[in-house]
C-alpha cells in the first residue's frame, strides 16, 4: 500500500487525464458488452422468431460498437502511456537528482552495479505498473462489473450461482500475493548482484587482462548467473501453483452455465436465448478472473522493485543545505578549528587547526594515508567533520549554501575521472558556456594545450570514459585545466600532477602562482619541488599536523620534511653550488 501511495504522488498531477482515461475504460468495457448482447438478440429475435429484417441493423450496431470501442481503447491506451511516461520520467529524474546529491559516503559504500540495477530493471517494473497494470486492473474490473450487472438484469439467481466461485478465487489470489512477493524481492536482490559483478568486470577489464584472471571472473559470474536463474525458478514455482487454480476457477463458470443454466432452462426459469446470452458473456467474467492472477504477479513484482527504489529515495544525504544558508561571495579565508574526522570508527584527522589567507599557497605533505585528501575534502564539504569546525571567511561551511561553496572552491582530485565527451566538453565541465579562448587558456596554464593541439581533432577529440586513450599525465592535466577554468576563490590540487614529469609540474605550479595571487591554493604533493615555494607547508602524519612552516624553516627543524628532502636530494650535496643548465 505504501508503494501505491508513493506512485500515486507521481500520477496525481495527471488526475484529470487519468479520470478521462478511466471513463474511456468504462465506456469501452460497456461497449464490449454490445456484441454478446446483440448476439443473444440475434438468436432470439432474428433466428427463432424469424425477424430477418432486423439482422442488418443489429449487425451494424455491433460493428459500430466495435469500431468505436477500438478507437476509444486506442486513445486510452495512449493516454495511459503518456501518463505513465510522464510519471516514469519524473520518478527517474527524482531518483537521478537524489543520486546526484547523495553524499560521498553513500558512493563509498554502494556498488555502482547496484545503483544501475535500480535505475534500469527496477524502474522498468514501475513503468510497467503505471502504463499497463493500472488500466488492466480497471479494464478488467469494469468488464467484470458490467457483465455482472447485465447478467443480474437478465436473471439474478443464476448470476448469484455463478458468483459462487468468487470467494475461492479471492482465497487463491491472496495466497498467491503473499507467497510470490518474497520471491520477487529475491530476484531483484540477485539482479543487483549480477549487475554488480558484470559492472565491475567491465570497469576492471584492464586489471583482469593483466593478471589473466578471466577464469576467476567467469567463476564469479557463473555463480551469480546461476543464482539469478534459480531465483527466477523459485518464483515460477510459486505462481505455477496458484495460476492454474485461478484459471480452473474461471473455467468453472462455463461449467455452471452448462449444469445450472441447463437445469434452469429445462425448468423454464430462463429462456434459451438468455442462456445463450449468459454463455456469450461468460468470457467477460472469466477473463478478468484469469487476468487477476497475472495482475497480482505484476503488482507484487512492482512492490519488490518499488521497495528498492524507495530505499534510495528515502535516503537522506548527510550533506545538505541548512535553511537560510549563506550565499555570499567567497574571498578565500580558510580556517580549521580543532577539526577531527573519522570514517566510521577509523579516525583519520585528529584535532587539526590551520589558517590560510587569500593569495596564500598551503602545501600539504605526508605519508600515504595520513589524511591529506580527507583534510581538503572537508573544505568543500564532501564530508562533514565530526568535531571542530571548518570556516571559510569566518563562516562555518555547514552554514553556507552548498552550491555557492562548491562553485567557488575548485578541486582537482587525485582520482581523475573524465567523461566520455570531447576534451573541450571535459575542460568546460564546470562552466559549460565558457568561450573557446578561456578553455584554451586554462589548458595552457595546465600545460595541456600543446598535446591537445597536437591531436588530430584537437579540442574536439572524444575521449573515452575515465579518459582512456590518454596517458595518466595527460588525464591529470585535463582535470587540472577543468579545475582552473572554474575560476575559483579557493583552488585545491590533490596530488594532481603525480604522473606529470617534474619539469612540467614545476612549470605548472609557477604559472599557477602568477595567476592566483589573490586566491587561496592548497597543494598536496610528494615532490619537494612542488611544495617548496608554498607560503606554508604542513606535514601531516597519522591525522595530525606534526610540522608546519616555510621550506627553510622546516629544513631547519631536521624532522620529517628534512628527511624527505634528503631522500629526494640527499645525494646531491652542495645543491646550492651546483651549476645547473
Amino acid at each position: 500500500m505504501e508503494n501505491v501511495k508513493w506512485v500515486w504522488k507521481y500520477i496525481r498531477k495527471y488526475k484529470l487525464r487519468m479520470c478521462i482515461a478511466l471513463i474511456f475504460v468504462l465506456v469501452a468495457s460497456a461497449l464490449s458488452m454490445v456484441t454478446p448482447y446483440v448476439s443473444g438478440i440475434i438468436i432470439d429475435k432474428v433466428i427463432k422468431q424469424s425477424h430477418h429484417d432486423m439482422l442488418l441493423k443489429l449487425c451494424m450496431l455491433m460493428l459500430a460498437a466495435t469500431i468505436i470501442k477500438s478507437i476509444i481503447r486506442f486513445s486510452y491506451q495512449i493516454m495511459f502511456e503518456t501518463i505513465s511516461q510522464g510519471a516514469y520520467m519524473k520518478i527517474r529524474e527524482s531518483m537521478y537528482q537524489k543520486l546526484q546529491n547523495m553524499d560521498f559516503k553513500f558512493f563509498d559504500t554502494t556498488r555502482t552495479g547496484d545503483i544501475m540495477a535500480r535505475m534500469t530493471g527496477d524502474m522498468d517494473t514501475v513503468r510497467h505498473l503505471i502504463s499497463w497494470v493500472i488500466y488492466m486492473v480497471f479494464e478488467n474490473a469494469a468488464i467484470f462489473i458490467f457483465a455482472v450487472t447485465l447478467l443480474f438484469t437478465i436473471n439474478w439467481q443464476f448470476t448469484l450461482a455463478m458468483l459462487l466461485v468468487v470467494p475461492f478465487l479471492a482465497w487463491a489470489a491472496i495466497r498467491l500475493a503473499g507467497d510470490v512477493r518474497p520471491t520477487f524481492s529475491a530476484i531483484r536482490e540477485q539482479f543487483s548482484r549480477l549487475n554488480s559483478v558484470v559492472q565491475e568486470n567491465i570497469s576492471g577489464n584492464r586489471v583482469i587482462k593483466a593478471f589473466a584472471t578471466e577464469y576467476i571472473e567467469i567463476n564469479k559470474f557463473d555463480k551469480e548467473n546461476e543464482a539469478y536463474r534459480q531465483r527466477n525458478m523459485d518464483s515460477a514455482k510459486v505462481w505455477s501453483k496458484y495460476l492454474p487454480i485461478i484459471d480452473a476457477l474461471a473455467g468453472t463458470l462455463s461449467l455452471i452455465i452448462l449444469i445450472v443454466g441447463g437445469i434452469l432452462t429445462i425448468n423454464n426459469k430462463i429462456s434459451i436465448g438468455e442462456l445463450v446470452t449468459f454463455n456469450s458473456i461468460v468470457w467477460a467474467l472469466g477473463n478478468p478472473m484469469r487476468n487477476f492472477g497475472w495482475l497480482i504477479n505484476d503488482i507484487q513484482r512492482f512492490n519488490a522493485s518499488a521497495d528498492k527504489i524507495r530505499e534510495y529515495l528515502n535516503n537522506e544525504s548527510a550533506i545538505s543545505n541548512i535553511e537560510k544558508a549563506a550565499k555570499k561571495e567567497i574571498t578565500g579565508f580558510v580556517e580549521f578549528k580543532n577539526v577531527s574526522f573519522g570514517y566510521d570508527n577509523d579516525e583519520v584527522l585528529k584535532n587539526v587547526s590551520l589558517k590560510a589567507k587569500p593569495g596564500e599557497t598551503v602545501a600539504i605533505i605526508g605519508p600515504t594515508g595520513s589524511g591529506k585528501s580527507t583534510l581538503v575534502n572537508l573544505i568543500c564539504r564532501f564530508y562533514d567533520c565530526s568535531e571542530g569546525e571548518v570556516l571559510i571567511d569566518n563562516v562555518n561551511v555547514k552554514d553556507m549554501d552548498l552550491r555557492t561553496l562548491r562553485s567557488k572552491v575548485s578541486v582537482a582530485m587525485q582520482d581523475v575521472f573524465l567523461f566520455s565527451d570531447t576534451i573541450e566538453g571535459n575542460i568546460a565541465y564546470g562552466v559549460p558556456d565558457a568561450p573557446y579562448e578561456s578553455i584554451k587558456q586554462a589548458a595552457g596554464i595546465a600545460d595541456a594545450d600543446d598535446f591537445i593541439s597536437s591531436l588530430p581533432e584537437g579540442y574536439d577529440t572524444i575521449i573515452g570514459e575515465r579518459g582512456v586513450g590518454l596517458s595518466g599525465g595527460q588525464r591529470q592535466r585535463i582535470a587540472l585545466a577543468r579545475a582552473i577554468l572554474k575560476d575559483p576563490s579557493i583552488l585545491i590540487l590533490d596530488d594532481t600532477t603525480s604522473s606529470v614529469d617534474m619539469e612540467t609540474e614545476f612549470e605548472i605550479h609557477r604559472t599557477l602562482r602568477s595567476f592566483y595571487n589573490n586566491k587561496t591554493t592548497f597543494i598536496i604533493a610528494h615532490r619537494i619541488s612542488s611544495v617548496k615555494n608554498a607560503d606554508k607547508i604542513i606535514v601531516l602524519n597519522g591525522g595530525q599536523i606534526i610540522e608546519q612552516g616555510t621550506h627553510k624553516e622546516l629544513l631547519n627543524l631536521k624532522g620529517y620534511y628534512y628527511n624527505v628532502y634528503q631522500s629526494q636530494y640527499g645525494d646531491f650535496d652542495g645543491l646550492d653550488e651546483k651549476e645547473v643548465g
Binding site: 456484441t35 448476439s39 432474428v46 449487425c59 460493428l63 466495435t66 486506442f74 502511456e81 503518456t82 560521498f104 555502482t112 535505475m119 534500469t120 530493471g121 558484470v198 568486470n201 567491465i202 584492464r206 586489471v207 587482462k209 548467473n225 536463474r229 515460477a236 505462481w239 501453483k241 487454480i245 473455467g251 452448462l258 441447463g262 429445462i266 434459451i272 445463450v276 605526508g366 600515504t368 594515508g369 564532501f382 552550491r403 578541486v411 582520482d415 567523461f419 566520455s420 565541465y429 564546470g430 559549460p432 598535446f451 588530430p456 573515452g464 586513450g469 596517458s471 595518466g472 572554474k486 603525480s498 604522473s499 609557477r510 619541488s529 617548496k532 615555494n533 620529517y560 629526494q568 643548465g581
Partner: protein
C-alpha cells in the same frame, strides 16, 4: 578508433536477418524434448479447452430441448475432466517453460560474458561502459519473455488455429470458408505496420542505451559533478535524454497498439458475415451450430491477435538480439593463434625487434623500437608524457599486437604462445589501480586465490602496506568498495602492488606504480623490493628519478623512439636528454 559517447547512437552494423532468429533457435536446440513436452501439454490443454463449446452446443441443441437432465450431468462430468486436465497442463507448462527460458537466458548471458572477457582493450576504450553493461544484463533479460512465452505460445497458437479450423470444417465447410474471409485484409495490414514497427523498436533500443550510458557515467563521475556543482546542468541533460527516450517510446507503443483494433474490427466483421451466411446463404444451420461457430470464431481471432503480439515481441527482441549477436561477433583481435603453445617458464630475456605500433592508422606511437635484455635486468623507461612508454610495456603483455616487428620473450615470439600462459607470468601494475569490491585480503589474493594469508601479508609488508591495512577497522578483512573508494590513491597503489607481487611474476612491470606514494614509503618499499627483484626482469616507468637510478639500463623514450640508453652514470656522462632531465629536478629547486 572512433569513440562513442552517451548521446550518440551506436551504429547498427547488421540489418534484420532471418539468420539472427535461426541463431536464437539454436539456443533452444538442447531443449528439444522439453519443448516437445511443453507443446504437447499445451495442445492437450487447447483440445480440452475446445471441447467446452462443443459440450455447450450439444446441451443447447439436444439435452436442454429434450429436458435430459441426466445428459446434462454427464456433459458436466466431461467438462470437469477437461478443467482438471487443463489445470494440470497449465502447471507443468509454466514450470517447463520457465526452466527453458531461464536456462537459455543464462546460456546467452554466459556466452556474451565469456565473449567480452576475450575482447581487447580497444573494445572497452571505444564506448561508454554503461552500454556494454546493459547488453550483458538488461538486453539478455528482455529476451526472456520471448523465450519463455513467445515461441511456445506461437507453436500452440498455430496448432489451436489448425484445430479450430478442423473443428469448424467438421461442423460446416461453407460456414468455415465464410468465416475466414477476414484473413487476407489482416495480413495486408500487418505487413504495412511491420516496417514502421521495426524502425521504432530499433530507435527505442538505441535511445535506451544512450540513457543508460549516461546514468552509468553520472554515477561513476558523481564526485566530479559534485565538486563542480554541476548537478543542475546534468539534471538538464538527463531530462533531455529522458524526453528523447519518451518520444521514441510513444512512437513505439502507438504502432504496437494500432494492431489490436484492426484485428478486433476484422473479427467483428467476420462474425457479422457469419450471421448473414448462416441465416441467408447457407441452408439448414441449427442455432447450436451458429453458437458454436461464433464461439469458435472469437477463439479463432484470439490466437491471431496473439500472433500479432508475438510478432511485436519478436521485433522488440530482434533489436536486442542484434546488439547481443553483434557483441558475440565482435572480432577478437588478440587471441591465441591456432596451435599456440603454452609459454614455458619465463627466464626473462626480453627483446623488441623493429617494433612499430599505432593505435590509429597513420599516427605512429612507436617507430622501429629495438632492444634486448638479459634475464634479471631492471630496465627503466623515462621521457615526456605521451612519448610511448606505456605503449612499450603494453605490447610486452600483448595487450595490443604490434603492426611491424616482433616482441620476443626468451627468444619466443609472444604471438605464438597462449595468451593466458604469457600474462600469468607477467606482473603488471597499471596506472589504473582498479580494486574489486571485497576484502583487502581478497584483493591482494586476486591473482592467486590459493595463496595463504601469510603469503598475502608478507607481500603487503614488502610494499609497506601492512601498517595502514592494520589501521583499518577490520584489518585485512575490511570490506572495500569497487575502485577502492575511501582509500587514497597511494593506498590503492600499495594494495595493487601487493597484488602484483603475490602473483609471483617472472617479469614485473611497474607503470608509475608509486606515483602517489610518499617518498619515505617509497624508499622503504624499494628496499623491500630489492630482494624480490633479483632474478626477475623488471620494467619501471617513473617520473621520480630516484626510483630508477639503480636500473641496469635506462631508456629515454621520446616521440616513439628510444633516443638514449645506458646506465645512470653512462647517461649522465653523455650529457644528453637524460642528463638534462636529471638536472632539471635540481634546477627547479634553484628556480622559483
Amino acid at each position: 578508433m572512433a569513440r562513442n559517447k552517451y548521446d550518440v547512437d551506436e551504429e547498427l552494423l547488421t540489418k534484420f536477418k532471418m539468420k539472427d532468429l535461426i541463431r536464437l533457435l539454436k539456443y533452444l536446440k538442447p531443449y528439444k524434448l522439453t519443448m516437445f513436452v511443453t507443446v504437447l501439454l499445451m495442445l492437450t490443454a487447447s483440445v480440452a479447452n475446445l471441447i467446452g463449446p462443443l459440450l455447450v452446443q450439444n446441451a443447447i441443441d439436444y439435452k436442454i430441448p429434450a429436458g435430459n437432465i441426466k445428459g446434462l450431468v454427464i456433459l458436466s462430468g466431461i467438462f470437469v475432466v477437461t478443467l482438471i486436465v487443463n489445470a494440470i497442463c497449465f502447471k507443468f507448462r509454466v514450470i517447463l517453460m520457465s526452466q527453458l527460458g531461464n536456462n537459455v537466458v543464462k546460456k546467452i548471458r554466459e556466452d556474451i560474458f565469456y565473449k567480452i572477457q576475450k575482447l581487447p582493450f580497444s573494445y572497452y576504450d571505444s564506448r561508454p561502459h554503461g552500454k556494454i553493461l546493459v547488453r550483458v544484463v538488461n538486453y539478455v533479460n528482455s529476451l526472456s519473455d520471448l523465450l519463455t512465452n513467445g515461441f511456445i505460445n506461437f507453436i500452440t497458437d498455430m496448432f489451436t488455429l489448425v484445430c479450430i479450423i478442423v473443428f469448424m470444417l467438421f461442423i460446416n465447410v461453407k460456414l468455415t470458408l465464410i468465416s475466414m474471409i477476414g484473413l487476407p485484409p489482416l495480413f495486408i495490414c500487418i505487413m504495412l505496420i511491420k516496417n514502421i514497427q521495426r524502425k521504432n523498436t530499433q530507435a527505442l533500443s538505441m535511445k535506451q542505451s544512450n540513457l543508460n550510458a549516461y546514468i552509468h557515467e553520472s554515477i561513476c563521475g558523481v564526485k566530479v559533478t559534485q565538486s563542480f556543482a554541476r548537478e543542475e546542468q546534468n539534471q538538464g541533460i538527463f531530462h533531455e535524454l529522458n524526453k528523447i527516450y519518451r518520444r521514441a517510446w510513444m512512437r513505439f507503443v502507438k504502432a504496437n497498439f494500432v494492431l489490436w483494433p484492426i484485428i478486433e474490427t476484422i473479427s467483428t466483421i467476420g462474425i457479422i458475415i457469419l450471421y448473414f451466411g448462416g441465416i441467408f446463404w447457407v441452408k439448414g444451420i441449427t442455432i447450436g451450430v451458429l453458437i458454436a461457430f461464433t464461439s469458435y470464431i472469437s477463439r479463432f481471432w484470439q490466437p491471431i491477435s496473439n500472433l500479432g503480439n508475438f510478432y511485436n515481441a519478436m521485433i522488440n527482441a530482434m533489436a536486442y538480439l542484434e546488439r547481443i549477436f553483434e557483441t558475440l561477433d565482435e572480432e577478437v583481435s588478440i587471441e591465441n593463434l591456432p596451435g599456440a603453445i603454452p609459454m614455458p617458464e619465463v627466464k626473462g630475456a626480453v627483446e623488441f625487434r623493429n617494433v612499430s605500433f599505432s593505435y590509429e592508422e597513420g599516427k605512429k606511437i612507436l617507430d622501429k623500437i629495438n632492444f634486448r635484455f638479459q634475464p634479471g635486468s631492471t630496465i627503466a623507461l623515462v621521457g615526456p608524457t605521451g612519448a610511448g612508454k606505456s605503449t612499450i610495456i603494453n605490447l610486452l603483455s600483448r595487450f595490443y599486437d604490434v603492426q611491424e616487428g616482433e616482441v620476443l620473450i626468451d627468444g619466443i615470439n609472444i604471438i605464438e604462445v597462449q595468451l593466458e600462459s604469457l600474462r600469468k607470468q607477467m606482473g603488471v601494475m597499471l596506472q589504473d589501480t582498479f580494486l574489486f569490491s571485497g576484502t583487502v585480503m581478497s584483493n591482494i589474493k586476486y591473482a592467486r586465490p590459493d595463496a595463504t594469508d601469510e603469503e598475502a601479508i608478507r607481500a603487503a609488508k614488502t610494499v609497506c602496506a601492512h601498517e595502514f591495512i592494520m589501521n583499518m577497522p577490520n584489518g585485512y578483512y575490511t570490506e572495500i568498495n569497487e575502485r577502492g573508494t575511501r582509500l587514497s590513491i597511494g593506498e590503492r597503489q600499495l594494495i595493487s602492488f601487493a597484488r602484483a607481487l603475490l602473483a609471483d611474476p617472472r617479469i614485473l612491470i611497474l607503470d608509475e606504480a608509486t606515483s602517489s606514494i610518499d617518498t619515505r614509503t617509497e624508499l622503504a618499499l624499494q628496499k623491500g623490493l630489492q630482494g624480490l627483484l633479483v632474478g626477475r626482469t623488471s620494467f619501471i616507468i617513473a617520473h621520480r628519478l630516484s626510483t630508477i637510478k639503480n636500473a641496469h639500463c635506462i631508456m629515454y623514450v621520446d616521440n616513439g623512439s628510444i633516443v638514449e640508453r645506458g646506465t645512470h652514470d653512462e647517461l649522465m656522462a653523455a650529457r644528453g636528454y637524460y642528463y638534462k632531465l636529471y638536472n632539471s629536478q635540481f634546477s627547479v629547486m634553484e628556480a622559483g
